[in-house]
């Protein structure tokens, strides 16, 4: 004991004093977590604005936007949005949101902040690698944002970047140099995510404090562990595919490009009069991309599911129902996510037998997802709910997870997907379940763990207002997309009203756009609350929510090294709420065993 404390003192002495080493090139997991979070928030702002522009175009495609043209001269032509700008908008909205916002804020942001605090260690396993990971990520952000201003603009082949559209430089303006920047940005992002993932896995597996067995980990930690494993195993497929795409684009190879490409009635030939490319397979890209892409959606979602379980139990003062089933469900979701990628390719022309196999896996994944919902409901049953802001967000995740999950059963069956594929039904589905759950999870986590970021609590009134506006506007934006999708409204379409059968959807599209603008504008509440509370909010105690995890046993914010004294030892799981034999309604993980517990 004595030397542990001596060591802790040493740890304090190690905290760098200079501002630049303490807050800029820091190796402290909490600082890195906040750096990631704030960067992701900035990227969210950019990606959100892109979404607003997409919605404007879909609601009023012919309207004169001269006022906007003054701000973005390149995007409009005599007041009307240009199609090349529109392709850039949806490509970059998807790319930024999926990778640079919703993979980053919950995973790299809260993962870094929470892992050492919740497993009980002084920092991540490899702090230097952790710092390097953030700076690599920042380089990725700079590269991907720069791409808006190079050549013919940012990438325009969709966030999925299907070749040949993304490979032939004349196929769409964004495939000029913007796509190369996209590849570079993605490779940097993946490198950063890999460094982070190595840290996550190692820290959670090896650096748990005494008594913290795997089955005493908060579900957030299980989620982070799985996310890191999914990332490490699936991202390499996109790294490899991106490199091959780069070679196809610039060095004339034919990984993804078949023979016989004719662009604008001119065969794509080399100097010898023969086709420049031959034998490549565009389907190969889709397989490699979705081999990453499907685990990727769980990388976004699993942390939110973890946050939700932790927040829900804290604010309904009830033990989590079916902890082992929850862990099992996450493991099953993570495992199955590797064998379902083909459900993105039901109509791509791959073998129908493969399609069948992928449909089986996809429907199978609904079972553990349903188990999670039932367990949350059972947790709420006979609880006593305290409506604080984090709780509202967690309930929001449950609601969105139900709504978005159910439409997955429509799509996953294969045959209905023939009609619904590449329509707004799919957009509705994944915005509710993947983007929505991840986003609401991040907002919930922000409200919950804000004390551990800045030592203050967020303003409750602003927080609740923000929740209600976001919740209603989110449904208002994305739920009607099911209807227009069923009606056959294709995605990624610059002017839907070219098709007579889509003309009568314009009023609904306008409703969606108004909801989207409300959704966008109400995020101002969040930004105001975030920055105001970070500096002026009410000072938080060690454990403002009476929660059980180890992160609540130290100061808010925790000092460098996390615990000024010894690292607490763990005696139970983190969900010991309202045990009738305990004197208080919650027993923290580090509290010594109670008399009743000593018995077993």
């Amino acid at each position: 004991m004595a030397h542990t404390e001596a060591h802790a003192a040493e740890a304090h002495a190690h905290a760098p004093q200079a501002f630049i080493w303490r807050y800029v090139f820091s190796k402290d997991h909490k600082v890195i977590g906040v750096q990631y979070y704030v960067t992701a928030m900035f990227m969210a702002l950019v990606a959100g604005l892109l979404a607003m522009l997409i919605r404007l175009q879909l609601a009023w495609p012919e309207k004169d936007w001269s006022a906007l043209q003054k701000i973005i001269p390149g995007g409009f032509d005599s007041g009307v949005m240009r199609p090349e700008f529109y392709t850039m908008l949806f490509t970059m909205h998807g790319t930024l949101m999926v990778f640079f916002v919703l993979s980053t804020a919950p995973v790299s942001g809260f993962g870094n902040l929470l892992i050492p605090l919740q497993v009980g260690t002084r920092d991540m396993a490899f702090p230097f690698l952790n710092g390097l990971s953030f700076w690599t990520f920042l380089c990725g952000c700079v590269v991907i944002l720069t791409s808006f201003f190079v050549g013919a603009g940012a990438a325009g082949a969709g966030w999925t970047s299907y070749p040949p559209l993304s490979a032939l430089r004349g196929a769409v303006p964004g495939s000029d140099i913007g796509q190369t920047f996209w590849i570079a940005g993605m490779v940097l992002f993946i490198a950063s995510f890999t460094m982070g993932g190595l840290n996550f896995v190692t820290t959670i597996v090896n650096m748990r404090t005494k008594g913290m067995s795997m089955l005493r980990l908060p579900l957030t930690m299980w989620a982070m562990l799985l996310v890191a494993i999914l990332g490490l195993l699936s991202f390499p497929a996109l790294t490899g595919a991106s490199l091959m795409l780069l070679l196809d684009r610039h060095f004339g190879t034919s990984f993804f490009l078949p023979a016989g490409l004719v662009l604008n009635n001119v065969p794509v030939v080399g100097a010898n009069g023969q086709f420049l490319h031959k034998g490549g397979s565009p389907l190969l890209w889709q397989h490699l991309f979705w081999f990453l892409g499907h685990p990727e959606v769980y990388i976004l979602m699993l942390p939110a599911l973890g946050f939700t379980s932790d927040i829900l139990t804290t604010f309904c003062r009830k033990a989590l129902f079916g902890y082992k089933a929850m862990v099992g469900a996450m493991l099953a979701i993570g495992g199955l996510s590797f064998i379902v990628w083909g459900h993105h390719m039901f109509v791509s022309g791959m073998s129908p037998y493969l399609g069948m196999a992928f449909a089986v896996g996809t429907i199978l994944i609904a079972v553990p997802s349903a188990v999670k919902v039932f367990n949350w409901l059972a947790t709420l049953w006979r609880s006593r709910i305290q409506y604080r802001t984090p709780m509202l967000w967690a309930m929001g995740v449950v609601s969105l997870f139900i709504s978005g999950g159910l439409s997955g059963i429509w799509l996953g069956q294969g045959a209905p997907d023939i009609q619904l594929h590449d329509t707004f039904f799919v957009i509705a589905h994944f915005h509710l379940i993947m983007a929505g759950a991840a986003l609401f999870g991040v907002f919930g986590a922000t409200a919950m763990w804000f004390p551990k970021m800045f030592g203050r609590t967020m303003n409750e009134t602003l927080g609740k207002l923000h929740f209600w506006f976001t919740f209603v506007a989110y449904y208002g934006t994305f739920f009607p997309m099911h209807y227009i999708g069923l009606a056959g409204h294709m995605r990624r379409i610059y002017d839907p009203y070219q098709y007579p059968y889509l003309k009568n959807l314009q009023p609904l599209n306008q409703f969606i756009t108004v909801s989207a603008i409300v959704l966008g504008v109400s995020q101002i509440l969040f930004f105001v609350n975030f920055f105001w509370s970070a500096f002026k909010g009410q000072k938080a105690s060690e454990n403002p929510w009476n929660a059980n995890g180890l992160e609540w046993t130290t100061a808010s914010p925790p000092p460098h090294g996390n615990w000024p004294g010894a690292i607490p030892e763990v005696h139970r799981w983190p969900y010991e709420y309202s045990n009738p034999s305990a004197p208080t309604d919650h027993v923290m993980q580090h509290e010594p065993p109670m008399a009743v517990e000593a018995g077993h």
């Binding site: 065969p267 009830k318 069956q413 209905p416 309202s578």
Partner: protein
């Protein structure tokens, strides 16, 4: 205030359920004009079952969030495991999904089965941003194509010396289909990935460069409908539009010949 929050949460979800149900009263899917009625049935059954689950889970969520609120002196139940209950809902869910899957796979197999021998052969080749429709003519054989000789006047690179090519008939963005006769469509692409989408026929097939992908279906009603491109294929993706004209089977050849002039 806390009570109100819970009530509001319950109300919000309930209102959504009601709004969703009312809106679904409308017939959203484009009117069906082909034999692929199985897809509509699958969608309808899925709607009913998932709709029920949606309503029940949201009602529970609403009820719990309203009823189990914090109040003075109350303590939550200490209850965190019930293996029998957990196995029950896991297996029931799995059972229901297995039924879905069984139906889905059957339907999938049906749609992807080999075309009947008497199916009318048509080739559809996507290019930025148009659909080239080709009929094999009297000989029933499509002539050879060579993409190297593709040009403004010969967008799919038809080899004109090929005897089979002599009677091929090419149309642009106009697809004539026979009523009540199976149609076999060979979907191809000249440049990027397109998606041959016939909303009224429940047909969607990506046109993949370098591949010839065959699909088949039976048009069931005469009339004029849309061909859409469902896969982002470049700047003109939104206007890559064509028309389907379903005519009585006996009049197909005449209609195609007239359209070619």
């Amino acid at each position: 205030m806390a009570k109100l929050q819970g009530l509001l949460f319950g109300l919000a979800t309930l209102v959504l359920v009601v709004v969703a149900t009312v809106l679904f009263m409308k017939d959203w899917l484009p009117p069906l004009k082909s034999d692929r009625v199985g897809i509509d049935h699958a969608i309808a059954i899925t709607l009913v079952v998932t709709g029920l689950v949606f309503i029940v889970t949201n009602l529970l969520l609403a009820w719990f969030s309203y009823h189990y609120q914090d109040h003075e002196g109350a303590r939550a139940a200490y209850w965190h495991d019930n293996p029998r209950l957990e196995w029950t809902w896991t297996l029931v869910t799995a059972g229901i999904l297995a039924v879905f899957l069984f139906n889905a796979l059957h339907l999938w197999g049906q749609i992807n089965s080999p075309p009947p021998a008497d199916a009318v052969l048509i080739e559809v080749t996507g290019q930025q941003f148009a659909w080239n429709v080709r009929y094999p003519g009297k000989d029933g054989v499509l002539g050879k194509t060579d993409h190297l000789i593709a040009s403004q006047d010969n967008p799919i690179g038809l080899v004109k010396d090929d005897p089979a090519a002599k009677d091929d008939i090419l149309l642009l963005n106009q697809l004539y289909l026979p009523k009540d006769k199976p149609v076999r469509v060979e979907v191809r692409s000249m440049d990027v990935v397109h998606s041959f989408f016939l909303p009224n026929f429940r047909v969607k097939q990506d046109a993949m460069p370098g591949m010839t992908i065959e699909i088949w279906f039976v048009p069931k009603e005469t009339g004029d409908f849309d061909i859409a491109c469902a896969q982002h294929c470049g700047l003109g993706h939104y206007r890559m539009r064509g028309q389907v004209h379903v005519v009585p089977a006996a009049e197909l050849d005449k209609a195609v010949a007239e359209a070619a002039q």
